[in-house]
């Protein structure tokens, strides 16, 4: 009994998941009945579960941009710390920017993914209210960007590839942030990451909030989880400015082309990492597994390249961003990777379905 209740408390349905929650309720009802009256409803339950899978596919294959934003912000969506705990062996956190402080919105450290040693840098929003406040909702101050750069330099010195996880509404807009040079800190990171002499892989796992996200995601390979988003401005902010009406956020989300699918089509990202049925928050282990497999595969690929070739390729990629969106791109400077196949990355092995961790 209590088991069932626990499950339903944990599930947090989005408003377009009416069909899913209905079936969940029916299944719960049948389970309750079979326990109370000792009747076997397992065939009916299996049938409902099959219908639910169809419903999940129907909804998530046709998610609108605004619905994607809701999924990316889901309160139970795996955060950077979940990846740290489930994916990284032997994590050693490295604190501080040696200058002002230790920004808790960005976590840095050494760790091992598979057999690869990496420098892990990620934005952490925090799960509960207390942690959210401590981590400033994943919105970093200049010292966060400077800490990240310091640790990247360290990685460069010892030839350790850098992997960054992006999940932030944006860089923090506040008095202290301006006093300590938020703009300068981000600008410096962009410049130095473009020439950092180790492979860099960035993965957007939730929200990719404009310059605040870009500040640690200039990379050789930029991937996005299927239902994460990356945008120049929040849909609400864009709606308030261009539509002069904050409630036009769904239209703004659509116009901004902020989903992984759209950004892959625009050739702005390198891969989309598949999420399990019903999105990442319904199966954290499978999500982490897919991301882990992507990182291992990509680190190996990039490590095989000569560092000068890697840097040339990185520069070429950066230099050509958006060139296609100008009339100069129509004449010359066509990127040579136009024939690049659209990649939706799913781990090669069948994903093992593990039970949801009890602590989430």
């Amino acid at each position: 009994m209590s088991q069932i209740n626990n499950n339903s408390v944990r599930t947090n349905y989005l408003d377009f998941e009416g069909g899913i929650s209905q079936i969940d309720a029916q299944i719960a009802e049948l389970k309750k009945l079979s326990m109370q009256k000792g009747i076997d409803y397992s065939a009916e339950i299996r049938d409902l579960q099959r219908r639910q899978v169809e419903e999940f596919k129907r909804i998530y294959d046709n998610l609108s941009a605004w619905q994607t934003v809701q999924v990316a912000r889901h309160p139970q969506r795996p955060l950077f710390c979940d990846y740290l705990n489930l994916m990284i062996k032997d994590f050693r956190e490295l604190h501080g920017d040696r200058n002002f402080g230790d920004d808790k919105a960005i976590i840095c450290g050494l760790g091992q993914i598979g057999r690869e040693r990496v420098m892990i840098i990620g934005q952490e929003k925090g799960r509960d209210t207390k942690e959210k406040l401590a981590r400033n909702f994943g919105m970093s101050h200049p010292e966060g960007y400077r800490k990240a750069l310091l640790k990247m330099r360290f990685a460069e010195k010892f030839g350790i590839p850098v992997v960054t996880f992006i999940d932030t509404p944006g860089a923090y807009p506040g008095i202290g942030a301006e006093e300590r040079g938020q703009a300068q800190a981000i600008a410096k990171n962009l410049m130095e990451m473009s020439r950092l002499r180790v492979p860099i892989i960035s993965i957007v796992i939730g929200e990719g909030g404009s310059g605040g996200a870009l500040g640690i995601s200039v990379a050789d390979k930029l991937a996005m989880l299927e239902f994460s988003y990356y945008s120049v401005i929040s849909p609400e902010g864009c709606a308030a400015i261009l539509w002069r009406d904050g409630s036009a956020a769904p239209q703004a989300a659509d116009a901004l082309k902020l989903t992984s699918k759209d950004l892959l089509k625009l050739d702005l990202i390198d891969a989309v990492i598949a999420e399990p049925l019903g999105a990442a928050h319904r199966n954290i282990h499978d999500t982490v597994y897919n991301v882990e497999q992507y990182i291992i595969k990509t680190v190996r690929e990039l490590k095989r390249m000569k560092i000068d070739n890697l840097l040339d390729a990185r520069y070429k990629k950066l230099r050509l961003i958006g060139t296609n969106a100008t009339t100069s791109g129509l004449k010359k400077n066509r990127p040579d990777n136009t024939a690049k196949p659209a990649i939706k990355f799913t781990a090669a092995k069948p994903i093992t379905v593990l039970p949801r961790p009890a602590t989430v």
Binding site: Q184, I186, R195, S210, Y230, L258, R319, S328
Partner: protein, 280 residues
């Protein structure tokens, strides 16, 4: 469609105010009414209090470069509207067309070769009149062209920023111009190129958080608003009134983020001197 409003203001006993538009200008600095011609003859700086008015890209080039020396390049590059951005009964394409009517160039940045006191330079000037000087793919592309031209001709690069942020109509493409322009500057840096970034009122958002803050020397005009987030965004986020002088050029100098504040009338000689010091 709303009916056009009548211009009829009703009868009035008050004498009609005789003030032909444009003859007089109110100074936002000292609040005095100034004879417009006396301002424009003074490089658009208030002769009373030294307030620096925002100026057009054309005026900027006129005031800064040696007379008639500016040779624009890459003028024809325009955006292809990569997202087919449509909003509130209008679209990006028609906004661009309207902006072009208002501004000196065809985009929010003009680049070209010029001379300043006889020294050859590569000059970039952002145009706030073109969609708020926002950076999209064209600004990024032109900036990189300017860097590359400066590199191949061994010229110092001088860029005047005035920007309200990223070009929303181009989505993530505009965010990534920050990385693109910064990467080009990394190459320029390795090439020992001299980049002087001049921040003018206002310089905020993605432009500040990329090339504008990456100058070998960073200069600002007096009282210019310079920041990452706009003051309104900050006020809405922290719900505190912002301190006096917050995000001004003087504030940035105080906090160590710019090298100098230089008045408009001194910019030519200051930049020329700095170029000489760097042996460029």
């Amino acid at each position: 469609m709303a009916k056009a409003k009548s211009q009829w203001q009703g009868f009035s006993l008050k004498p009609k105010k005789e003030m032909p538009e444009g003859l007089w200008t109110k100074c936002p600095g000292c609040k005095k009414m100034l004879y417009t011609k006396s301002v424009s003859e003074n490089l658009d700086v208030c002769p009373e209090c030294g307030y620096h008015f925002r100026i057009t890209a054309a005026a900027r080039i006129k005031y800064f470069a040696d007379e008639g020396s500016f040779e624009e390049i890459a003028r024809e590059i325009v955006s292809t509207d990569p997202l087919d951005f449509v909003y509130r009964g209008t679209d990006y394409k028609s906004r661009m067309a309207a902006a072009e009517q208002k501004s000196a160039g065809k985009e929010a940045m003009l680049i070209g070769k010029a001379f300043v006191k006889g020294r050859g330079i590569m000059l970039g000037v952002m145009d706030f009149d073109y969609l708020g000087g926002s950076m999209g793919a064209v600004v990024g592309e032109k900036f990189c062209c300017a860097v590359e031209q400066a590199m191949s001709d061994s010229l110092p690069l001088i860029v005047f920023s005035s920007a309200g942020g990223a070009r929303m109509h181009e989505g993530v493409i505009s965010v990534m111009q920050m990385a693109k322009t910064s990467a080009a500057l990394a190459k320029f840096d390795e090439n020992k190129g001299l980049f002087i970034s001049v921040l003018t009122d206002p310089t905020t958002g993605g432009v500040t958080a990329s090339f504008a803050m990456l100058g070998d020397i960073i200069i600002a005009e007096p009282h210019a608003l310079i920041g990452f987030a706009g003051p309104r965004v900050i006020e809405q986020t922290i719900r505190v009134e912002l301190p006096e002088g917050f995000q001004t050029a003087e504030f940035l100098l105080e906090h160590g983020f710019i090298d100098q504040i230089v008045a408009r009338k001194d910019l030519r000689s200051e930049v020329a001197r700095l170029i000489d010091y760097c042996g460029k």
